[in-house]
Amino acid sequence: MMEVAIGNIKFKNPIIAASGTFSNGREFDEYFDIGKLGGIATTGLTYKRRDGNKGIRLYETRSGMMNSIGLQNEGIEEFLQNDMKFLKEKSTNIIANLGGGELEEYILGAKLLNKSDVDMIELNISCPNVKKGGMSYGIKSKDAYEITRQIREVVDKSLIVKLSPNAENIVEMALACEDAGADAVSLVNTFNALAIDIGKRKAIFDNKTAGLSGPGIKPIALRMVYQVAQNIKIPTIGIGGIVSWMDVVEFIMAGATAVQVGSSNFIKPDICMDIITGLEEYMARENIKNLEEIKGII
């Protein structure tokens, strides 16, 4: 049985599509039934629409990629009236990924989402690609505590806080979010990183730095998930470089309750289905009845 629970929500399997890598599902639903996923984290949503960043937005690295999308989205109201109507019909959990700049913007967004049909909210305090706010809440534990507490006050739905690997101390950060009332933490978002065009003698990205994701980050993400899961009581959702069911098993053995699959959706639009099938077969082979049997087992 692949079922897992996070907050007051049941997931039929622990595979969730990660925010910003799965749009709002429509493009992927043309390649497989997205209702088969445990959950879908929406594109990073902000109270008002955003056009995102200028200049180059993507750059491939060894074993990974960097992005500087900058939270391009239509705004929460438009999302609720359009993509959410489509997503609601799918038999999977919809996790609204909430981004923003200033605290007030986050709170306005959270209030709209709290009244909506989304199943959960994932508070993104870890986007390295917005100038004001965004990741700045994700560096110091006391800032993360403060924003989580304020969002908690306006949100009745289950609340996940998405952590940045750029945090000063990832365990303290997770504990602060737990104290402030989060129902779960998800980690990691992308690593703040730099690439340079030596011919032009300039950074590749207009913002200079951008977010690194993909298989190259997995060992560090796994270590962080391991450290966090040992120290908090709420569930940990593991993210970072997952490309196969074996990676998922590693994250669960490190202590994760569920996982999110990000950049590898770009390798193959139905890669999540391969992962779900692979996990199912693994459990049957190893006679694992419930993922709790291997969770945090190392």
Binding site: E27, Y31, G52, I56, M65, G214, F266
Partner: protein, 242 residues
């Protein structure tokens, strides 16, 4: 449901120029000029991203791709031989509008010539080709049955005009100009065509997913942000904010 990646054997491979490869695979389905496929010529996740490659031709259930060998992914494709498999997702994107009865100039820069061959085959009317290359021309011969005039420019001066392809074109002779190539060339062409003739551009921004999901290849247009992979890759120049 659409097919996810399919696996096809390379049935033809040749070098058109030192770093320009042509491969063919069998395919059956609808394919429009200007559409592209996301291609992986390797198994596993390194390099991470598939390469977006335009359809250069589609005939007798065979697709041709022209590939400029320049990075880690295209070098791996270059190492493949006949009978080796590549993985393909597509066809993707909207492609060109097929016009008839108009006077049209096709303007290519380097490997940007690839999608224009299949387009030239599908269009009637007066179609002229203007093609610029760094060293030497390639593929141009194959256009000849389908077009009227050919104008070539090279940086090296080895064939045709020594200089820029944009030096050669008089926009007032045409109803429509269609271009694919490096951004600097297309921007120069936009200046020349501005206010004189309509211009359509096929863009080649970096892509990750190819299906309109990651917002990595976005361009700014007069009607908002658009993805090159799904809304494009062909845009009216008058719609773009470059």
């Amino acid at each position: 449901m659409k097919n996810s990646y399919i696996h096809k054997k390379i049935i033809f491979k040749e070098k058109l120029a030192p770093n320009i490869l042509r491969i063919k695979v069998e395919y059956s389905g609808q394919v429009k000029p200007g559409q592209f496929f996301m291609i992986r010529g390797w198994s596993g996740v390194e390099p991470l991203l598939s390469r977006a490659i335009s359809v250069a031709d589609y005939e007798n259930e065979q697709i041709s791709f022209l590939i400029e060998v320049k990075g880690s992914g295209t070098k791996l494709i270059d190492k493949l031989g006949l009978g080796d498999e590549i993985s393909l997702l597509g066809p993707l994107g909207q492609g060109f509008n097929i016009e008839s009865g108009k006077k049209i100039a096709l303007v290519a820069g380097g490997i940007g010539i690839a999608p224009l061959l299949y387009l030239a085959k599908k269009m009637d009317g007066k179609v002229d080709l203007y093609a610029g290359f760094r060293e030497k021309e390639y593929l141009v011969e194959e256009f000849k049955p389908y077009i009227d005039e050919v104008h070539i420019a090279t940086d090296s001066g080895k064939t045709g005009h020594k200089g820029l392809v944009t030096d050669l074109i008089s926009p007032d002779k045409y109803d429509l100009v269609i271009t694919c190539g490096p951004m600097v060339m297309m921007k120069a062409l936009a200046q020349i065509c501005s206010g004189r003739v309509d211009l359509e551009m096929s863009l080649e921004n970096n892509m990750a997913c190819g299906i309109g999901a990651c917002m990595g290849c976005t361009v700014e247009t007069k009607t908002g942000m658009k993805t090159v992979c799904k809304n494009g890759p062909v845009f009216k120049e008058s719609e773009l904010i470059l």
